[in-house]
């Protein structure tokens, strides 16, 4: 019953999306103007219906209604409730439903609160949003119905991939999707502005909070995904340039560029067509990412849906939306005036460098991700991985980071290096000092070397925009910028430190044996069986001590066996200190070297994988700072807008009372 309700809600939402598109389009004509009135309420109703459908799916998952095919395939009655709920989006159909739900809700939210733009542009925007939604509704209803029933009803479900039974997964996809799909608003705004030819500061100011919101979620989502891979896969890697990871990085790169060009457009009315273009590109990257992950064209760690038919469907949608939007852009771009001019050495100049570099990195990631597919189509298999992506992206990222240190200090329109040069003496000296220190330490390869040295200087330079300001009266968006840029420096330091100074140790130890890993002494105390709701495990108790006189702490890595489905996973144990993380994984039981120990049973050796990773948590701390910076900027912009509205309301009220 609930499943049918969900399906009905979905069909209704799709129908309303069609109405929204029609009413929005007709609302732009002279004769259909009255229809335009209907667009906002319809958009809100459509969003709520999609939300209802999603709630229904969560319900059938939480009660493990096995007559629903999706539940039977992906859930199990013995799973903890939180993973039953997370299971709702841990599969193809559910995640696509989450996609349209977020898209519908985003459209509803825009319809509800966005009043800054001319109504005509809003109509075109909401019609555009409905147009994109419609395709994805069609995809869900025709090619991947999440509410399909199953007969006969199986006695038990298949369970969820144990790797995905983790709190990290419970929140990673929804966060990422809020970002992915939130960018659809930027896309629709761009389309709306192209149709009505109204590209200017008002457009940028209206679009900026939406882009910021989506970008914050993307940042948090990517960071969460990376941390999940780091501790759950049990090998201590945090980024592998896997196609699925790249699929989430590409929209982020585009959105970051968009954010910066948006602020140029909002403050200085420059870079008009470029900003619109980025709006189109950002969401296109979300769609390409979804295509890559959802079509099964790649098979990688987290691509858990494989179905070529669906791939063709999404490919068709991609062709329509990206092709359509780019065509529209091609037709209209020439009619959008280029906007204000500026000199190379200016705030805008620095932001243009940022945009060009981010776009170039985006180009490399996109090409490097797609090329193996192209090669495969031509009959040859190649792999493109970290040895390619790291240096190639650094080629553009490093110059961009240098500009990042200078850019925020420059004035709009035109400036001179001489004016800001004095401020940069200390950061430059820090870079040199860090470089010398690293040479003395020795053994650091080129990229981590550059990264560490640059991170130190950048950390200092990023807070310079606050110099000489009254901190209490500094606008929130400035704080946001400083915090986010500082976060980049922090994350860069973490990444470089991880690759420069990590110490790995693989050992086979007996109970009671002590191993040394960097500054840590690690003793294997016991190995004992433990049981969870749907798994059994061997749990090692490690007693670890930092240095010679530190406190002894326990770590409990597990080697788990799940029974539905049958799979082994390693649950790593992490110990975080201010200067890094100790990472321990329990491997299998190793046979004794000489066979003698087996006489007295207690002499078995256990495989341990141990890492000491100096400053590795800074990667995610930095990412969260970046997101926090975004949140501060968003809050600042929203508060500003709200204040302005209140003041305007007061003025109107007074005028009315005075009878003017």
């Amino acid at each position: 019953m609930i499943a049918e309700l969900g399906l009905a809600a979905l069909w209704l939402a799709a129908a309303l999306a069609a109405l929204q598109l029609l009413a929005g389009a007709l609302g732009l004509t002279a004769r259909g103007a009255t229809l335009g009135e209907a667009v906002r309420p319809v958009a809100i109703a459509q969003g709520l219906l999609a939300l209802l459908a999603f709630a229904c799916l969560i319900y059938v998952f939480s009660v493990t209604d096995l007559s629903v095919k999706l539940v039977a395939l992906n859930s199990h009655s013995m799973k903890p409730l939180v993973f039953k709920i997370a299971g709702a989006w841990g599969n193809h159909e559910g995640s696509m439903l989450l996609w349209v739900t977020v898209m519908g809700m985003a459209g509803a939210f825009v319809a509800l609160v966005e009043r800054r733009l001319p109504e005509r542009t809003m109509l075109a925007t909401l019609a555009g949003q409905a147009f994109v939604s419609l395709g994805f509704y069609a995809f869900l209803l025709l090619a991947s119905n999440p509410f399909e029933r199953l007969s006969p009803v199986p006695a038990e479900g298949n369970g969820l991939n144990p790797l995905l039974q983790d709190l990290g997964l419970a929140f990673h996809p929804p966060t990422l999707y809020l970002g992915y799909v939130g960018l659809s608003i930027a896309f629709s705004f761009a389309i709306g502005a192209l149709i009505t030819r109204e590209v200017g500061p008002t457009f940028a100011k209206a679009m900026r909070p939406w882009v910021l919101g989506a970008w914050i979620f993307l940042t948090v989502g990517i960071a969460a995904g990376s941390y999940w891979a780091y501790y759950e896969l049990g090998w201590g890697g945090w980024w592998f340039w896997d196609p699925v990871e790249n699929a989430s990085l590409m929209p982020w790169l585009a959105a970051t560029a968009l954010l910066h060009s948006c602020s140029v457009l909002a403050s200085r009315d420059a870079l008009r067509s470029w900003t619109v273009m980025l709006g189109v590109v950002a969401f296109s990257m979300s769609m390409i990412g979804t295509f890559l992950v959802r079509s099964g064209i790649l098979t990688s760690v987290h691509a858990f849906a494989v179905d070529p038919q669906r791939g063709t469907f999404i490919l068709g949608l991609l062709a329509i939306y990206i092709g359509g939007a780019l065509t529209l852009f091609g037709l209209r771009a020439s009619t959008v005036a280029e906007g204000e001019r500026f000199a190379l050495v200016s705030r805008e100049g620095a932001l243009v460098v940022n945009n060009v570099m981010l776009s170039a990195i985006l180009g490399i990631v996109l090409f490097g991700t797609l090329y193996p597919l192209v090669a495969e189509a031509m009959g040859a298999k190649v792999s493109v991985g970290p040895p390619y992506f790291n240096p190639m992206s650094a080629l553009f990222a490093l110059p961009m980071l240098v500009v990042l240190a200078v850019g925020p200090l420059l004035r709009w329109r035109r400036d001179k290096f001489a004016r800001v040069g004095r401020n940069l003496v200390i950061p430059a000296m820090l870079v040199v000092a860090a470089g010398i220190a690293l040479v003395l330490i020795g053994g650091v390869s080129l990229l981590p070397f550059l990264g560490l040295a640059l991170a130190v200087g950048l950390g200092w330079a990023s807070v310079l925009p606050l110099k000489g300001r009254n901190l209490r009266r500094t606008p929130l968006p400035i704080w946001g910028m400083v915090v986010a840029h500082f976060g980049i420096a922090v994350a860069l330091f973490g990444m470089s430190s991880e690759s420069a100074f990590s110490i790995e140790k693989l050992v086979a130890v007996k109970i009671g044996e002590v191993t040394q890993v960097g500054p840590w002494g690690i003793k294997l105390d016991t190995v004992e069986p433990v049981a969870g709701p749907n798994w059994t495990a061997l749990e090692a108790r490690l007693l670890v001590r930092y240095g010679t006189d530190g406190r002894v702490t326990r770590m409990l890595p597990q080697s788990r066996s799940f029974w539905a489905p049958v799979q082994q996973t390693s649950e790593s144990a992490l110990l975080t200190r201010w200067n890094g993380q100790l990472y321990a994984v329990l491997g299998g039981e190793a046979p004794s070297v000489d066979g003698k120990d087996e006489v007295n049973g207690s002499g078995n050796r256990w495989q341990l994988r141990l890492w000491w990773k100096p400053f590795v948590p800074l990667i995610w701390v930095g990412a969260l700072l970046v997101a926090l910076g975004g949140a501060l900027a968003l809050l600042g912009h929203v508060l500003n807008d709200w204040r302005r509205r209140v003041v305007r309301g007061k003025i109107a009220y007074r005028r009315e009372r005075q009878g003017r």
Partner: protein, 139 residues
Amino acid sequence: MKRLLVLAALLLTAPALAQEEQSTAPYAYRQLDDPAQETKAQDLMESLRCLQCQGQSIADSDAPIAGSMRSLVRERIASGEEPEAIRAWLIERYGDYVSYAPQLTTLTWPLFAVPAVLVLIAFLLLRRRFTRTPTENGQ
């Protein structure tokens, strides 16, 4: 269904296999004693694909084949072979697919051309943007 059963059987016997592996792949889970050699081996292993897994290098996979490839890499490094020679040998045996570091060949040249083209485009874009600009002396 049959395949599932086989898979289950395989998983259940995995510990036994792991023990067997000890004799055929002694360095799967054991590091080389010389830290410099181990670093070399580690760098190489991180850039080789585990052919049985999905999107993992042999340095971070529990699959048996990854284990034996790790052992192969460590043994060859220990016997003094250069990492790139080992990579070339593996590519010859398993194809380009095995290496995450694409080699410059007739097949992969676009991978290296694209960054160069991007640099060029970036340069031209920036130049066009800033040379055409009439200076605004306070208008």
